[in-house]
Symmetry: D2
Subunit: 333 residues, 4 copies
């Protein structure tokens, strides 16, 4: 939002001609054919690391950068080229994937003083797999377009395990003609690549899903906890919900009550899975998007607050299904 | 809650011996064998009417009562015996089913001055299919036990259509030995009869399910609305949610957004289905149960408030999925 | 609610004539003149103890009862007569004050098997200072009326300190002609005795006040916490709020932020004051009243949930302003 | 937030020396002495118009700009100089006041392609009275500092009436040495000018106050509505709240219930006052600030949602106390 306006404030892309756009498509086509040429990868953290490795496994030379040099070392050992800045990556590769933790980092990496756009080549394909504000994605796409490059947002669902196994889901927003080119790379890292619409809709799909997920997880925890206190057996209650209209992914696939299911975080003291602090971050993005579009999200904003409080009560690194544990504690004197 | 205490205040059932309980079980056994003997039915409204008719279809003579005499007329025409009071029903039948709209009505019908318990026979089986406070169910069970009768709560899920078709789901709470006797009758009216545990747990299962249902329905409406405002196509968004962790019954079976699915209330201007006012009632019961057991239900209580507000804004007779319509309205000047 | 119906279910007070009511008023008048005759007091806990002592100080012989005999011992030493049951109190005094912790206790004390109404004298004045559901107060008033007695609800605001100092505020509901008679006794214990309307309105006034108090306290805590994190000095922020439209009792008289004011619980590690568990109880009563009257209370019900969660996180015995402490904790890894 | 990062991304102000800052202070001092020299005013809407007129009345030549030329006409007639852009204002005046409706407008006016900072003189004093995100204020202050100018945030409380009467309250954030210079101008438009701390704290104070105001207004409306439905007279209930701990500005100065007070919007069909849509905007700013600082604001975010929903239900132009009317509507069939 604010970002959009700042960018807009200093720019004049509205004067850009169709010609540039058409030109970039043409260049992309030739670029897309040249597969197995180098791919840039920026952001080699918990998620980026296994994602980039899967690109290497598929035969793509990777040009790597991370703000923490030690994160690159492993890739150096694998024979990847390591650079000094996002701009240098853009200088060496015309397809770049970014995987960053926040709006701030994405803005820095793309439009910062050593950012990608300082040296991006015309026709480059820039794929951002970070989960960020869709309004920021749209702004970055406009800035990229000014340089003759194509920006797509492609956030993922699935955690570190899925990143390692190469079966992430990518939700992709951007110019439809570029989707195939993006998909060529993304299928190396994910089993599911979904085209969502214009730029920003990948982010939108992700934050809408995660907002609904948070709501139904807290709802499942509340319903299970209430039922247990009213005398129901947890397994029986889960069974009843799952054959009724209360059924949801949080009740039938990822039940938050210890002892109801095996192989889920609730069976392992809420270790692993999707951390409460990450859920709180995604709910914050949903909240900002809702505020900007004046969309009422009563339960969504309360879910955000619940996860925000949990983060302050020691749950930040536990799986987000630990909301059951948070709620079931009883009054003590 | 309060009811429990009043009943308890004037009673002394704690002195009751095991003997009585054992006795009633024995009597019930002989009663259960005598099938196709008369069955009492009290409460012949939208739901009770088709339920009682299904009993008639299965060959059970029905002894009918409703506070509105005209509701009984149809049963008189069908050859059923119509009585003047719940007490009279209890005088003529030792198996009675009740289907009533509120705590108040259930209390009146069971322990009122012309209530069932005034003339109930020892060993009678009393099945209450009303949706009421589980604490009231427990109280009524205790009062029934004092008279040597057995009370079970057996609320239903499924609406008028399911009642007509005889495929309701019954969630049954009460003494386990009596479950088969109850099931014999309930299977005439429903396709699914689930034993939930001690008395009150049928109600508990129902209100927990409906609380989770309300939460995930509002959550689905919020997520779909937000996604649409962020530029996503509704059908595509529903598809993405349904293959992801946001999936729930409200998104994949009963989607609240017009145009996404056929054959659901959202495809028919939110007519039919489960009315907002009924959902608000069930959420009120969940709220009272949560308050009494000091169980935190943050989203559950907000969902209650949302449906409460909707009732005041003209949505009371629309299906509860109309929360999407309620939320999508935009600011007007 | 449920209580009302049970009582109603077994009763026939609607047939009662005006005559009885008029009669009781006449008797009350003669009773009211006979001041300094014995006054019954039931419930000698944290609040009841100092309240009853203030009656003694004002020269009223007190007939005492408490379910815990040791609570009566002090009054025996003061020369008060101690009885074995509420019924015995009613046998010996025609003015009785009750101060009890819950709906359940009030129902037991009034209509239980050894309750006041078992031996109440015609024309007696029964004043209940417990904080309970107004619907229960109404029911008890109807039962009392059947016995020719007058019941008034008179809950208090002000804690143990105000009870000792004799400057409680009483909010009184009941027949207006009886208000002076009630006030004669209540002014021994409080400095402020307010007539609120028909029976139940004393409770209504109290729970409405406390619901608004809880909401503005949490709001003050949120606003102060947010301001501090945005760089404002707490004292300065409090000063600004207090000269602006955010001003409220919680900001200007009972500020929840340590260091802003002296002589309030926040200056003393949240000791003393009005405990979180008591606030949670009052919010539960507000919630039940709102549910029964179909009144939307969005913030009221969320405030209830916040205090409910706090009770489970170790705050139950701290003053309710400790919500600031609860909210200000920061994310830890 | 995002804005901050974009600005930072392209900047290097961390290298700026103390010297510059000291220099600007010196220049400001000489500027501050030169009173009755021209003052720029940008944004001549409902609020800006009467504010700028008050400057004229106090003898300040005003250099005016508004994006809508017709808004300037009146000032032309008053003899003020009208310019073509914010940059032109900065070219002609070294003290500028801005009053703009949103983050976007403020960013455009300050750092846009024809923004103030394009032509700002060293030592200029820039006072922004818009209500915007404090993070944006901080960013603008940094950009201004790079040009050797001083930026202060000075949002107001009080509406159009107070703007006309010249008795607004200004909450001022920025370098303390500049406060007197700012105050010289602000006292022409307001009766109360409060120094809040470093830049951004003026905004922080305002949004914290308004968040608490919204919470206590909705709380007052809920409590009054519940009390009325429980049988209390509205005036009596207001009186009780106002002498008790529920007292707040919304109950004692601006009561939302028609008939309780004179001279407030509730006495005039909720016309005039502070519109619901403006309150929703401020709550959105509070929400964004809370999200950015990870501060839990459970009631604050629900209050935001309530006003958001009200905007969509036809209340956007009514005073924000109309939440009482919104809540009191009853279920209709």
């Amino acid at each position: 939002m604010a970002a959009a306006l700042v960018l807009r404030g200093s720019a004049s892309w509205l004067r850009r001609q169709r010609r540039v756009c058409a030109g970039s498509v043409a260049m992309v086509s030739s670029r897309a054919m040249a597969s197995k040429t180098a791919v840039g990868f920026i952001g080699l953290g918990n998620m980026g690391n296994p994602m980039a490795k899967n690109l290497v496994k598929h035969g793509y030379p990777v040009i790597a950068y991370d703000v923490f040099p030690e994160a690159c070392k492993e890739f150096q050992d694998l024979g990847s080229q390591v650079t000094d800045s996002p701009a240098d990556v853009a200088d060496k590769a015309d397809r770049i994937i970014t995987m960053l933790p926040s709006n701030a980092n994405a803005i820095e990496v793309y439009v910062g003083s050593n950012g990608i756009l300082k040296k991006v080549k015309k026709g480059s394909l820039l794929i951002d797999s970070s989960t960020i504000d869709p309004a920021v994605s749209k702004d970055l796409a406009k800035e990229a377009e000014k340089m003759g490059a194509v920006f797509m947002d492609a956030p993922v669902s699935g955690g570190v395990g899925a990143a390692r196994a190469g079966n992430l889901t990518f939700m992709v927003g951007g110019v439809e003609q570029e989707f195939d080119a993006a998909k060529e790379l993304l299928t190396c890292m994910g089993s599911n690549v979904v085209y969502c619409g214009e730029v920003g809709t990948g982010q939108a799909a992700k934050i809408c899903n995660n907002m609904l997920l948070a709501i139904s997880m807290i709802g499942t925890a509340e319903a299970m906890n209430l039922g247990i206190r009213l005398g129901l057996d947890p397994k029986l209650l889960a069974k009843i919900l799952n054959m009724s209209s209360g059924r949801c992914w949080s009740s039938d696939t990822y039940n938050p009550v210890p002892g109801v299911m095996d192989g889920v975080p609730s069976a392992n003291n809420y270790q692993g899975g999707f951390g409460t602090t990450l859920m709180a971050k995604d709910l914050g993005l949903a909240q900002v998007s809702a505020t900007n579009t004046k969309t009422p999200v009563l339960l969504g904003s309360l879910a955000h607050q619940v996860y925000r409080v949990m983060c302050a009560k020691g749950y930040s690194q536990k799986d987000f299904s630990s909301v059951f544990q948070f709620l079931r504690e009883e009054e003590t004197l």
